[in-house]
Symmetry: C2
Subunit: 198 residues, 2 copies
């Protein structure tokens, strides 16, 4: 159940998204060794109605497939003027086969003329253990939706999200380390790492 004393904890990553993997690896550091998502594992249907449900679905699927502890996260952008949308549907907000640009475009259209552009990025991160145990952590970052995309770093809604307390740059205008220091995913995975006793 426990890793070898002093050795890194090994967690199989549920995501195949290399941006997410890079972020997570940078946050967790050397105490955790991320193993790649098994190539023979099919797509996990993310039909949960909350971020938490989807993160748990993904972690449990990879843990069940590999017999090893697995880590997953689900992230949503919750926009006040849209009543919390796109939320759990953030990845397919622009349509079932939408890419990042489609999703951002739909968001900017939906917010045209909106006085309130406040939003919140929220991540739920989950580790599933082979014995049925689970560890959940959450992180959120408050911010504002920009009028137009800015910056070439990051992914998803990063070019349109300006975190509160910063200098007005979007997440996509920050380095990975700058983003991780204040981001929803950074907060969730640091809380997870602290909980793992490392």
């Amino acid at each position: 159940m426990s890793p070898a004393p002093g050795g890194p904890l090994r967690l199989v990553a549920a995501t195949a998204n290399r941006h997410k993997l890079m972020e997570i690896a940078a946050i967790l550091g050397s105490a955790v060794e991320l193993l790649p998502r098994p190539a023979d594992l099919g797509e996990v249907v993310e039909d949960g109605d909350t971020l938490e449900a989807n993160a748990r679905l993904k972690a449990a699927a990879v843990c069940g497939h590999t017999g090893r502890a697995a880590v997953a996260d689900d992230t949503g952008l919750e926009v006040a003027a849209l009543g919390g949308a796109p939320g759990v549907r953030s990845a397919r907000y622009g349509g079932e086969n939408a890419d990042d640009a489609d999703n951002r475009a739909r968001l900017l259209v939906d917010l045209q003329g909106a006085a309130d552009r406040s939003a919140r990025f929220r991540t739920v991160a989950v580790v599933a253990f082979p014995d049925g145990g689970e560890l959940l952590a959450e992180g959120a970052t408050a911010g504002t939706i920009a009028d137009a995309p800015r910056g070439g770093e990051g992914f998803g809604y990063d070019p349109v999200f300006i975190p509160d307390g910063g200098d007005g740059r979007t997440f996509a205008e920050m380095s990975l380390d700058e983003k991780n220091a204040v981001s929803h995913r950074g907060r969730a995975f640091r809380a997870l790492a602290a909980r793992l006793g490392r």
Copy 2:
């Protein structure tokens, strides 16, 4: 977020049941200091439809009320011939105001003439942290329902539950240490303690 190095982790107990508290304290040992359930916290409505949902409800309620990490569990007896009942309804199987004796009596009546008396005790234990993090662990013990209650130790369905792999005694005929070594609650809380890095 983390306890003082070397000091015991403090967890507020969500249960006021002294039998459960004794079991949990004995399992967790000196690495965890269990703080009593606050007297001014009203009853938490356990209206979840799974053990897990109820354990999470209770841990979150106590954590929210106290601002401290809180631990809760929910336990059910799942009887094969009854399609998994009483399960999440174990505590009120004999009626809304049923006591342990009422619940056991109903179970024995329901199993009269049943060829298959196999059953499983299952516990889901949850720690809720003030930052929204959660730790879940599960433990189960397979066994058989006795024809009549035997033994004066323990509580709940202990007098009618004979764990597999033993010498035929019911949980209520065992010492607390003997029971904890093989019980659902023992397994769940040991897994929880290992997850807490202690």
